[in-house]
Structure formats: C-alpha cells, structure tokens
C-alpha cells in the first residue's frame, strides 16, 4: 500500500559531497505536479532549483532550510497515495542512503555521534566492519573516510590485522623502488677514513687540499667538524664574497608567516589607478589654514577605513571554515624597521579623522622602529595597508597577512596625463593594488571595495 519515496540530496558533479537547502518552495503536505519547483539547493559551485520529476505529495519535510546535508541524505518523504503518520515514521527510520556516498555519510554521521556520545556508539561503528576482515575501528573509520576498500589491503598488524598505517599506505600512490639508472656509491673519502671527521669536514679537506692530520677535532671523541677544518687550516667555510647571517627570530617569524600565506591563501590581485588631486588639494588647504596637515598616507588610511565600512566583506579574518566579519576597521599599517617589517594596528580607524590617525600612528611607528611594540599593538588587525610610494615604487602586489582577508598596496604618486573633458590634463595619480583571499572575498566584492575606496579618495569632501 505504501508508495513512499525518498527525496534525497542530489549529487551534481563528481566533486559535490554536500549541499545546503537554501529554501523550500513547498510546504509539508503539499501536492506537487511534475516540473514544479520543490526547493532551492546550493552546492559550493551553484544554486539550483530542484523540480519534481513526477506528480507526488510531500508528506514529510525533514531537512531545514539553511542547513547542509551530505549527498544522498533524506530531505523529505514523498507519497503516491494515502499514508499514515506511522508508515512515514517507519519509512524514515528504515531509510539508508544508497552507495559509497551513503556509506561515508553514515560514517561521518556516526563519527559525529561518536565524538559526542558514549563508547557504546563505537560498538555500532565496529559492527559495520565486514565479516572476515580484521581491522581496528579507527583504521576502519579512516578507510571509510578515504573511500578505500579494506578487502584490498594486506594487514601488517598482529595476526594479519589491518592497521591505521596500512590504510594510510594504501591511500597513497605506490612508490617506485629501483629501476633507475645506475649510480656510483663509491665513498668519496676513503683516503681520509683514518680520520674521525664529519662528511662535511672531509669534503672541505679534499676541496682545499688540507691534511686532516693537522686539524684538531673538537667534537666528541675528537671528531673533526667543518669548523675545525676551517679554523685550523685557515680555509673559508664557504666561498669568499659571502657573509652568512643567521636569521633573527623576528626574521624567522616573518619568513614563516609569509611563506604560510603564499602557500595556503589563493591570492588574486585587483589593480586600479586613483587620482589624488582632490585629496592633495584638501590637504594643502588644511595646511594653509591650520599650519599643519596630516600626511597623504594618513588621509588614505581614513579613506580605507571608510571603504571598509562600506564593503564590510573585505574587513574580515579567515579562520578555517569561518569568516569573521568585523564592525571596526582595525587597519594594520606596514612599517619598515631595521629588524624587519612589522604592522602596528590602528583600532576602529573609521571613528578617527586623518588627524587622529596621524597622531596615533606616529608613536606606534617610533615604538616599532625602537623595537618596543607591545603585543596589543600588533594584534587584531582586519586589513593591512602598505605604502612603498616613498621609494618611488609605482605599483606592487602585497602578500596577505593571515588571518586577514586582504591587503592594499599603495604606489607612489606621479603626475600623469589623463583624459579630461575630451582633452588631456596632467594630474597626480597613484596605483592601488588590492590582494584578496579568494576563499572569502570574491572578485566582485573586491571590486566594490576598490570602487568605494576610489570614491572616498577622489571625493574627499565625504571624509
């Protein structure tokens, strides 16, 4: 009597693993006709209307709008004729997603359950292991996640049991051993074997024709090191013309941070020229009127702050799967010091005038150059501005400072001919380059930010 059917999360493309119900287009109990839109479902690539493939009635809606579900998960129950609530309950309880995707869905669901519940749930997981396969529950789970058929794995554990390492090995491409061209393994330093010296020391001795008998070893049991050879035989440790400087911890930190940024963040760059005439006029007027004025860069910081408030999707930090949107524009300003690049932060820059920003920035720069910045001076930035204009650099692309989502690079102001009213005029322009993290900021968003920024720069009365 039951003509119950499952409406499940569709799989669009081989890479799709889950989708989100953006909204239901029908309500529970509705009858739908073939072709009618049931729901809007969003995958990581597209948002699609899902239409009914036949006439049916949606007797139970299970999925909630706004939530993500793995491919194959039960979203709703459809029925051809009259059904009781109990029948629907039974159908729901007995439902199992089909295929490997379903398996991984179950495994993921089960793992989520395992993470929060008692050990009893692990038995459930273990119960899934196919009979005749000796494998630890952990390895089994790992195999399910990696989509590996454990029946193809030879176990290396006790009594042929499949271990976590066996699953790991099976998941990696096989490593070819041998079958290459012959190599020479004759030791290069046999003549020097009478001496207890490191391989590096022996090589150095050979290269510089040093008799190791004349070298005093300072290592354990009188072992000769490269430094010993260099010292006793008067040979340079490396070729001349090179001074080896060990990285300071600050330099190492910069190296680490920026390497991480470049390696993991999908950077893209949006560049546009802006005209600075209006801003420069404003500045000149202020100077004339009050005797002093904030620098051009301070004005640019203010415009940046306002633009960040206008396009808050750029004023973010990216943390794993989460985007943190900030209400305050905490702008980190790149400062060059003897020890390396450091970025003190101007907090809530949108609330401060260019004057205030200048006043706050100066002591920060001084402290930065003296090496006396405190942790709170450099924490919590949501956006960075870097200006290499003082070096005449016209255009450059900066590297994003994680966990921020973007960085603005400002070039030198130059006089350049621009089109104006059908003719050519000279005006002061500068290149801006906005580097964005494509995981969190799409091109259009970046573009909107640059537009907003340009407007604030070229219409400074809004400042």
């Amino acid at each position: 009597m039951s003509t119950l059917r499952a409406f499940t999360m569709p799989k669009w493309g081989i890479e799709m693993t889950e989708g989100t119900i953006s909204e239901w287009s029908i309500s529970e109990g509705d009858a739908v006709a073939q072709g009618q839109t049931i729901a809007l479902i969003e995958s990581d690539k597209i948002v699609n209307e899902v239409q009914a493939e036949f006439d049916t009635r949606f007797v139970r809606l299970i999925a909630t709008a706004g939530e993500s579900y793995p491919v194959g998960a039960l979203l709703a129950v459809m029925a051809g004729g009259e059904v009781t609530s109990a029948e629907v309950d039974a159908f729901v309880a007995a439902f199992r997603p089909a295929g490997a995707a379903g398996e991984s869905a179950r495994a993921t669901a089960a793992q989520a359950a395992v993470e929060t519940l008692s050990p009893v749930v692990t038995d459930y997981l273990a119960a899934e292991i196919p009979p005749g396969v000796a494998i630890s529950p952990q390895a089994w789970h790992h195999a399910s996640q990696l989509n590996i058929d454990v029946r193809t794995i030879a176990g290396s554990g006790r009594r042929g049991r499949i271990t976590l390492q066996d699953v790991e090995q099976a998941s990696r491409p096989p490593r070819l051993v041998g079958g290459g061209t012959a190599v020479s393994i004759a030791p290069t330093t046999t003549a020097l074997d009478a001496f207890y010296a490191s391989p590096g020391a022996k090589r150095l001795a050979v290269v510089h024709n040093v008799d190791l008998a004349s070298v005093r070893g300072t290592g354990p049991r009188g072992r000769i090191s490269r430094a010993d050879v260099a010292r006793d035989a008067g040979v340079p440790l490396r070729s001349a013309g090179v001074e080896v400087v060990r990285m300071s911890s600050m330099r190492k930190a910069i190296a680490r941070q920026l390497t991480l940024s470049k390696a993991t963040i999908p950077h893209y760059y949006l560049r546009r020229q802006v005209q600075l005439e209006a801003l420069q006029s404003l500045r000149d007027d202020l100077k004339q009127q009050t005797g002093t004025a904030p620098g051009l860069n301070d004005f640019l910081l203010r415009t940046t702050a306002l633009a960040l408030c206008e396009v808050p999707d750029v004023n973010i930090q990216v943390h794993g799967d989460e985007i943190h949107r900030f209400t305050d524009a905490n702008i980190a300003v790149a400062v060059a010091t003897d020890r390396g690049l450091i970025t003190p932060v101007l907090r809530a820059a949108q609330t401060k005038s260019a004057h205030a920003l200048a006043a706050e920035l100066k002591p920060l720069i001084d402290r930065a150059r003296a090496g006396r910045l405190r942790a709170e001076d450099v924490e919590g930035g949501t956006f960075t501005v870097s200006n290499l204009g003082m070096f005449g650099v016209e255009q450059f692309d900066a590297i994003i400072n994680p966990p921020q989502g973007a960085i603005l690079a400002i070039g030198a102001a130059r006089r350049q001919p621009v089109e104006r009213d059908g003719g050519i005029a000279f005006t002061s322009v500068a290149w801006l380059s906005l580097s964005c993290d494509h995981r969190a900021i799409d091109g259009a968003v970046g573009g909107r930010f640059l537009t907003a920024l340009r407007e604030f720069i070229e219409s400074p009365q809004r400042l």
Partner: protein, 336 residues
C-alpha cells in the same frame, strides 16, 4: 703499504706489540702448542695460526700456553694487568666466554670502577666468533651483543686487515679491557695495510659506501654482505650509505645519526639473534634521537631467535645475506 690477510695482520701486530712493550704477555690454549708432546713447543702456533714464532722470540714467561682453563686464562691476564703488566688473553671461540664469564663481566669490566679509578686493567681478550663454517650452536655465536651491554668493557670487531692492525694496536695500548672479536669467516680477507705505526681509534665507523637513499649499519662479516646488496641496488639507481661500525662499544652514534638524518631510512644488519641485540640497540638509538628524520620504520635484518643450526642449508637460512639486506632496503624505500 702491503697486501695481507686479516690473519697475517693480526699476527704481525701481536709480534710488533710484544717487541715494543716488554711488559706485554699473551696467554691462551695452544698459543705455542706442542708443550708436553713429542713435537715439543711450537708444534702449532695457535689454532688459528696467529701466534706462531712468539715463543721462540719472547720466551715462556711472556708467551704462555695454558691448560684448558678459560677462567684462568682471562683471570690470570686480569691479575697480571692489575700487577702492572699488559695482557692478551686468547679464548679460541667467543662461545667460551660462557665458561669464564665471571672473569669478564664481574672482574675485568669492573676493577677500575670498583676500586675508585685507582687502577687500570689493560687486558685484550681475543675471541673468534660468528657463523658460516658449520661449527653449529656452541662454536658459532655472535656474542658481541651481550658484551656490548656491559659497562666497563669495550667491544671491537675489525673487518679489514688494515682495521685489524689499527684496532688491535689501539686495544693493546689502551688501558681499558677490550673484547676483540675476530670473525672466523674473515681471517682470510685480504687488503692493504699501512706500514709502521697505525692506530684506528675506537668509536669511529668506517664508510664503506656513500648514498642518500638509505642507511645500512652493520659490523663484522655482514659488512661484505651489505656492500654486495648496496652495489646491486646502486645498479638500479638506489644509493645506500653503508657503515661498518668497527666498534660497538664505544659506538659511533654521530655517524649513524648523521647518515639517518640524511637518508631517513635505516636498515641494521646484525648476526645476533634479535632480542636485546645490537640491532635493537641501534634501532632504539635512532628512534629516540632522530625520530623526526625517519621516513620509514627501521628495518632489522637479524638472525632468528634460535641457536645456530648445523646443516648447511639451515645455517644459510639462519644468517642475514645480501638478498635479505637488499629486500629490507627495498621495503624501507617502498614505505610512503
């Protein structure tokens, strides 16, 4: 430089040291041979032929044939050493340390320490070890693993004639007790030996082959097997570092760790049975001091946990070989 066998190198070194130091004496069974027989003294110069002619040159007070009394061979060497002499005790087969283990492990190993550093016991105990000549369970053991673990002893095993000379000289002239292991299969091994004074320091491994793909650490007769395996692999583009430890106490930890830090893959070939063995010791050393450098589990190629069998096929199966060492290298390289 001269070409000679390990047997000759040892023989000449003993003679040279006896000449150099009038306080050196040597004792053991059949060192001289023939005492009390129709043939008279020197009917045989040592079972392995290395002490012939010494009696004629240095006399019965310094070249002493003993009855079959291992405890007294080592014990008398020890007593003479405590009384200011320097002694070489020859025990024929390494397995016989069982008969006199007290003198080795309770006496000579401990005198310096127990007596507060106020004396030395310069005894070199020469023992022939190892399987491969079908001498079966009681005449084939690799006893070095057990003796390496004893504080106070030094354990040495040369694999080339040059090393035989250099290491034996260092052992005799040093003031610490040394267990000097001579592999039965290597007595006939030939090589170049430097003339004149030649000492090889302890705790300094010899690089037999150089490569960046895997490290093979071994000693004794297995050095040759490891080199054979490495050469075969080199023909396929796999380059192994092969280290001949030469001394297991002191151990050249630096060279082992240096090599593993470069290759990330370690294979240890050891003729001892696996429990509490040299192989286990080196695996533990590397796991604890160079874990981050390892790209694959340590591969141990050892004898099985069994006495040495007699039949040729069985002994062949018992010992590590170039084939088993090669297989271990491939296994380590296949690990992803």
């Amino acid at each position: 430089m001269a070409q000679m066998t390990i047997r000759e190198a040892l023989s000449r070194t003993i003679r040279a040291e006896m000449e150099r130091d009038p306080n050196l004496l040597i004792l053991g069974e059949d060192i001289v041979g023939g005492n009390g027989t129709a043939g008279g003294p020197e009917a045989i110069g040592g079972i392995w032929g290395m002490t012939g002619g010494l009696y004629a040159s240095f006399g019965p007070k310094r070249v002493i044939d003993t009855p079959i009394s291992e405890s007294c061979i080592v014990g008398a060497a020890a007593g003479a050493a405590l009384a200011g002499k320097r002694a070489i005790a020859e025990l024929m087969f390494a397995d016989f340390v069982g008969v006199c283990l007290d003198q080795i492990y309770n006496q000579i190993a401990k005198f310096r320490y127990m007596f507060g550093g106020r004396t030395t016991c310069p005894v070199t105990v020469r023992i022939a070890y190892g399987a491969g000549l079908n001498c079966a369970a009681q005449h084939s053991q690799a006893v070095y693993s057990m003796l390496t673990s004893i504080p106070g002893l030094k354990v040495v095993m040369p694999t080339t004639p040059a090393d035989a000379k250099g290491l034996l000289t260092t052992a005799i002239r040093g003031d610490d007790p040394v267990m000097f292991f001579e592999h039965k299969m290597l007595y006939g091994e030939t090589g170049e030996v430097p003339d004149g004074e030649y000492l090889v320091p302890f705790g300094h491994a010899r690089v037999v082959r150089e490569g960046r793909d895997a490290t093979i650490v071994t000693c004794g007769a297995l050095v040759g097997a490891a080199a054979t395996a490495a050469d075969k692999l080199a023909a396929e583009g796999i380059a192994c570092d092969v280290l001949d430890l030469r001394t297991t106490s002191p151990l050249d930890e630096e060279s082992i760790l240096d090599s593993v830090e470069g290759t990330g893959r370690l294979i240890v070939a050891d003729e001892s049975p696996p429990r509490c063995s040299l192989a286990a010791d080196i695996a533990a050393l590397v796991s604890s001091k160079a874990f981050a450098a390892l790209k694959a589990p340590v591969e141990l190629v050892t004898a099985p946990h069994a006495p040495v069998p007699f039949a040729r096929e069985l002994e062949r199966a018992y010992l590590p070989s170039p084939a088993t060492i090669e297989a271990a290298v491939r296994k380590a390289l296949a690990y992803r």
